[in-house]
Symmetry: C2
Subunit: 597 residues, 2 copies
């Protein structure tokens, strides 16, 4: 902890040198990425808190860390002795970061942060606060970078082209579609900073961020020219030729700021202030007109094309085979697993599958009470043996050339209490109800959320996370704009569900200090009936991994629910069975046999 104190002291010295009174250190990179590479973990460096979400604010007298409910326990432990105050976001009476900054900022004082690692929309809120308080704002200095001697580099990783048999659409066609969207907005230029959007558009994948196969870069598109700003060192000749063939020019990563500064007067610039960093926005000439809209690529990449859909089914078939083999080991007497070794074994099973490119996120393998910690991640310090009772919750996914997966199964490791079975059955019913929803076109994931939660609400139970998120194609396992959520955030228009969207269905129940249950399948939105009432939509379940019949109380299920479950298990056996060794196939047949009420 004395390390953190030393770093705070060094930062405060720099703050004095630059005349900054309050300095904000966010968790982000220059692209508002959900996961960031080690180079960008400035907030972690300054506080010692390793959680994925959090913001540090440092004044001359105080240092505070803001994080959300998922991380309260972890942050408490990691901040101990550092002198840093933990601000528990969302708790009554706890100020937000902007509220805190406003309360501290006096007239004539100076607020600072690195404008490259904060979204323009957030930064503009601080801009308003500074103006209101009669204070200054300095967003040009990366003060943490100046006191971080051993800061990790951004390693040079390999880029590869995602061939059209995987992507299903050429770069030319994608760029043309974006240009049409620009025309609709009467935009002269589009600035793209979201790494997944760029990777999708160029049909390129990289390795700059753990678990998200993308490359740090920016992109600008006018009606005639497309420029990709990237570290030239990682662009092999083959990629250079490929891009040149598609009319994409390459420039140095950092050149985008200067290029934006020298835009001709009065240009209409399409950008999403929630994704574009503050310095990019500030680089625009004053005469530019910013059109603040979601990137057109956001919806385009969420709606999977036919090739992608065919591939995604294949990716799920592979992941389901791997996960089922893992289940077989767990359910047929493996005695030597801990949380970590079980997760490793699942990785081994996945690695056997063709075209596998590794994990799509750090898996959650949580035994017993650990299952109740929604974002638990086993470490050498927390790892426990998987015993012959209670539940093991496993939430994991893989990247394949054919797409990305995200699945959760909760496994009865031995005898369960009746209440545990009751809760498992309720979670299963919740999962099935959403998966079998039929609905009129025009519905959003907000209007369907209650279909999933209702079986739990009937028992006076709920879960405090979203019901589902969009899934990228060999990109971030979490993507928008589709999601199942109970409430609509004030600033976000609900996204209509559209055929081709892939969204997870992951209800849960978490009993603190006892166990956690979550059951997650991925759902593909597909067309249903079309008649005088309009177009109906429904879901195809992509994940084909058995539920645990040892945890199911058939008497708590309606005949319709039992029919859904039996039909699903039939599909699992038919699809996965042929890829298993005989003994495992026999076991799966038995394990997926029909249930009767």
């Amino acid at each position: 902890m004395s390390e953190v104190k030393d770093r705070l002291a060094a930062l405060r010295e720099k703050m004095r040198e630059y005349g900054v009174d309050i300095y904000i250190v966010p968790s982000s990179d220059c692209h508002e990425s959900e996961y960031v590479s080690a180079h960008f973990r400035a907030r972690e460096y300054m506080t010692g808190f390793t959680g994925s979400a959090g913001t540090a604010v440092i004044t001359m007298e105080e240092a505070g860390l803001w994080t959300d409910g998922r991380y309260f326990l972890q942050a408490e432990a990691q901040l101990k002795g550092s002198g840093i105050t933990l601000y528990r976001m969302g708790e009554p009476g706890v100020p937000t970061v902007p509220e805190y900054v406003e309360s501290q900022l006096r007239p004539g004082k100076c607020l600072g942060f690195d404008g490259r690692v904060m979204a323009a929309s957030k930064a503009q809120e601080f801009e308003r606060i500074a103006r209101k308080q009669g204070a200054y704002l300095v967003a040009s200095e990366d003060l943490v970078g100046r006191i971080w001697p051993d800061r990790p580099d951004i390693p040079d990783t390999t880029l590869f082209i995602l061939e059209e048999r995987y992507s299903g659409e050429s770069v030319d066609s994608k760029i043309a579609r974006v240009r049409r969207a620009m025309e609709e907005q009467q935009a002269d230029i589009h600035v793209l900073a979201s790494l997944c959007d760029i990777a999708w558009l160029l049909n390129l994948r990289g390795g700059d961020i753990p678990c998200v196969p993308v490359t740090l870069s920016f992109l600008t598109l006018t009606r005639e020219i497309c420029v990709w700003y990237v570290r030239p060192s990682i662009v092999a000749d083959e990629i250079r030729d490929y891009l040149s063939d598609h009319g994409v020019k390459i420039r140095e990563y950092d050149e985008i700021y200067k290029d934006l500064e020298s835009l001709s007067a009065g240009m209409r610039v399409l950008l999403d202030r929630k994704n574009v960093n503050y310095r990019l926005l500030n680089s625009l000439p004053e005469s530019a007109v910013a059109i603040d809209r979601p990137n057109p690529t956001e919806l385009m990449k969420a709606v999977k094309n036919e090739t992608e859909i065919k591939n995604i089914r294949e990716a799920h078939r592979k992941e389901s085979v791997a996960f089922t083999r893992f289940l077989y080991r767990l359910k047929t007497g493996a005695t030597d697993f801990t949380e970590l070794s079980a997760a490793e074994y699942l990785d081994t099973c996945r690695a056997e599958q063709e075209h596998c490119l590794g994990q799509s996120f750090a898996p959650i393998c949580a035994y017993g009470p650990h299952g109740a910690i929604v974002h638990y991640s086993a470490t050498a310090g927390t790892d426990v043996p998987v015993e012959k009772e209670s539940f093991l919750l496993v939430d994991a996914g893989g990247h394949y050339l054919e797409g990305t997966t995200d699945t959760t199964r909760t496994i009865a490791m031995g005898p369960l209490k009746p209440e545990q079975k009751r809760m498992y059955t309720a979670v299963l019913r919740a999962n099935l109800h959403l998966a079998h929803a039929k609905f009129r076109k025009g519905a959003t994931g907000y209007s369907l959320d209650a279909l999933c939660r209702e079986p739990l609400w009937q028992l006076g139970v709920d879960f405090k996370h979203g019901t589902g998120h969009g899934v990228g194609y060999l990109l971030n396992v979490h993507e928008g704009p589709n999601a199942f959520r109970p409430r609509i955030p004030a600033e976000e228009a609900p996204a209509e569900l559209v055929p081709g969207m892939v969204t997870t269905d992951e209800p849960g129940v978490y009993i603190a200090d006892e166990y956690g249950i979550r059951l997650e399948n991925e759902l593909l939105c597909v067309e249903g009936t079309s008649n005088e009432y309009g177009q109906f939509l429904e879901f195809e379940i992509l994940t084909l991994i058995p539920f645990d019949r040892d945890a199911i109380l058939a008497e708590e299920m309606s005949p319709e629910e039992i029919a859904w479950l039996n039909a699903y298990h039939q599909r699992v056996y038919k699809t996965v069975g042929p890829y298993l060794p005989e003994k495992e196939r026999e076991w799966l047949k038995e394990y997926t046999r029909a249930i009767f009420s």
Copy 2:
């Protein structure tokens, strides 16, 4: 129709006289009331179209009428031969009224309407269009009034005080609550034009609008003074004394415009631009600051207090007794009913109940194919005999001192086809699913809507109206802000469901030219479990009228749904039975006996 043509010619002459090129005639009174008294039916006078919703736009060359899907057939018939073009709102390619006006309005031309009968929010949209087109706007002239020689007067009707044993809260307490809300908004004065809000606030009821017991009036409230603007001729001495006792001053109805003009400089004025008419808004001094928020009374009157809830249960008991007696006649061999005489008989049954003040809306009594016309209203010209087959759909409600009701039952008048039973059962299941929903506090009627529609969606069926609306207490049978709706309108924040709100639950199926089914109960939001997950809410079903067992296919229902139905029928028999003559009680016992799958 030559009458309508003459009126259009007369209006155009006035338009020339006043230099107006385009004149808009809305359907509203000065209070944006849903129902309006005959005096305000200017759009009906100008077009001959008698539907409740519609807007006429008259230019020197053209006349158009805009109305929504409920009224397409009726408007077609009523406009025939008038030369007025029907604009079918919501159909592809049909411009909205503002779009049409914008396309017609040339620089230097003049757009006109009577600013008293248009909400400020709508009028400001036309203001923007006029400015954009370089045209003028005249909102001070009621041109229809100038050519309408036999315009109906506003009749003097009786006011009465709703005693505290009915209202449950004194005027003083209500005014104090509104003043606290004004303080929160830092408002110096609040302008109230919504008639139901005023009636609720003053605990007064009147009779100026058919089916809505309110009085045409405005009200202003400052921190010290409350002024009620009303026709003095209808205020009896007793009412005058009552208001004086509660510190409410009375002024002439029209004086409000002048009074607002002479407000002191810089006052902060709380008003809802959606409810306050354009002339009221324009009467404010330029220095006034308009705070555009929903009236605080809107939510206050939607959340019923304990006295109101106790009374409302009693109102529903009475309405249910009347409706059940009506059902008895229909189901036990009455052979002589037509739609109109059946509706009259229901009125007779209701009139026998104590404290009944008549219909809360014009009832829908629709036999066979008429049931498929969602807003059908039988007239001498459309009336048909109720035969011994198919469905009779009856949607009706009453006003009582104890509250207002709204119920729909669909009655099997004889043998049904299997498909008719299948649809009836699906609508019943939809109704039951919403009624038995449990949910976390924070949910809105938008997030629960799908629970109701899902059983219908599963069959590829939907209905094109909202699932439910709030119900006033001896006020408008339709009130906000609570509602069950599939989509959130862009301009409206979803209202959280709160204990004490009363909302209808009225799914339906409509097969054009064949039959319609709708089943409507009113639901009271009540508290459920409170535990570590938070506060749960659920519903108490207020309506206690049997569903038609002759139309139910038990085999299409889950055991849980059957248990819900049987428990409901038990409650119906226990509550309503004691108020019926013996023969009818015996019939009800048989008619509400348990169903088995």
